[in-house]
Symmetry: none
Subunit: 227 residues, 2 copies
């Protein structure tokens, strides 16, 4: 059974979607704001997400990024905005499709089927949501890190950096790529940022920060996360 997560703050839209989806034998969760949506997604691992960009608590694009931090689940965006910019922004943030309101239910369902269909066969190669080392654990979905069972507090930038590194476990990530993914495309040479934040990550996570086992420096090239 296909699990759908519907995120929208307008009750009548949610109701219409839920009714139609349930009638077609989908399993449906609903959230009316971004925070609970991210929680639900982490807890239930839906097969597809329907997301309204106009949420009360946070920007819809932030929800997309939050999901894309740990999963490749198809995201179908709903929005009342017709402007090209909004669409481009959402799609480039990681959305798979963009439907403007008002929408035809038939079309939405067809787009949903298309999104689920192309995700299916890839579903076998599951992404690791929980990455463990001998001394700490990274939960990409819950955005939580534990060291010897105790929660570790990371700042947003620290987390983002960790996320990129863990996504490429074992692979070398160039300093340029790290800077552009964490700080934005206009960065690329500010390697001092990396030095500072790598030091903080190591101080918080490594057993011996001055002799890192998991956050390895490859001088002149980049950094590598080793399990």
């Amino acid at each position: 059974m296909t699990r759908v997560l519907v995120i929208d703050d307008e009750p009548q839209i949610v109701r219409a979607l839920v009714i139609n989806l349930r009638a077609r034998k989908y399993e449906v969760d609903a959230a009316h704001d971004g925070a609970t949506a991210l929680e639900l997604a982490a807890a239930h691992h839906p097969d597809v997400v329907v997301l309204d960009l106009g949420l009360p608590d946070m920007d819809g694009v932030e929800v997309i990024k939050g999901l894309r931090g740990w999963t490749r689940v198809p995201i179908l965006v709903l929005s009342a905005r017709h402007t090209s910019d909004e669409k481009v922004e959402a799609l480039d943030a990681g959305a798979d499709d963009y439907v403007t309101k008002p929408f035809g239910m038939d079309e939405l369902l067809a787009r949903l089927r298309a999104a689920v269909r192309r995700a299916e066969p890839t579903g076998a190669g599951e992404d690791e949501v929980l990455v463990e080392t001998d001394e700490f654990t990274v939960d990409l979905a819950a955005k939580k890190v534990q060291k010897h069972g105790k929660d570790v507090r990371l700042t947003p930038t620290e987390w983002h950096l960790l996320e990129v590194l863990v996504h490429n476990t074992g692979r070398l990530v160039s300093q340029r790529q790290l800077l552009q993914e964490v700080w934005g495309p206009s960065y690329g040479t500010e390697t001092n940022y990396l030095r500072v934040y790598m030091a903080q990550l190591r101080r918080k996570l490594e057993a011996d920060p001055s002799h890192p086992k998991h956050f390895v420096t490859e001088p002149g090239m980049g950094y590598r996360f080793e399990r």
Copy 2:
């Protein structure tokens, strides 16, 4: 480089698409009817297809089915028809997205990026990026070298040199080419650099550095990497 196949019978639309795509460094093929489209797709294996449903020789949906018979390449449908039925039919036939004309070029390009992005593999089913010899292995994706199972640390220049040689496994690479690829286009005669760094590579990777088996010198010409 990403290969795009554009299928449309209206010359001005094809021209607009081709110009925009080429400007963004896509490799573009164009077909103006379904039959040649299917041929081109089979011959060139595009990474994404942009398909106008209104073709002179056959129904666009037939083109979709024809493609879906053997490939999962993302298909982005263009159409002047706004009716829900048409969209549903195309999407259920196997299309990935449906854009109605007139369309905004920005939006189309964003949808194209989204389609290409999700088709990209992550991590697992990768290309052949592992080169093995009897004594060491080179992982081009992770930028990692192991000798008898133990990691070997290479400096950036050493790695870069190795990369060029491995990319041309079995072929002779001229000293000029090596110098220009590793040190930059203004170099070409500083063969002493090569001597020093080849020696270091051999010392780190060869079983008997003074009698190299894999990093072969072709006197006066260049070097060759043999598996």
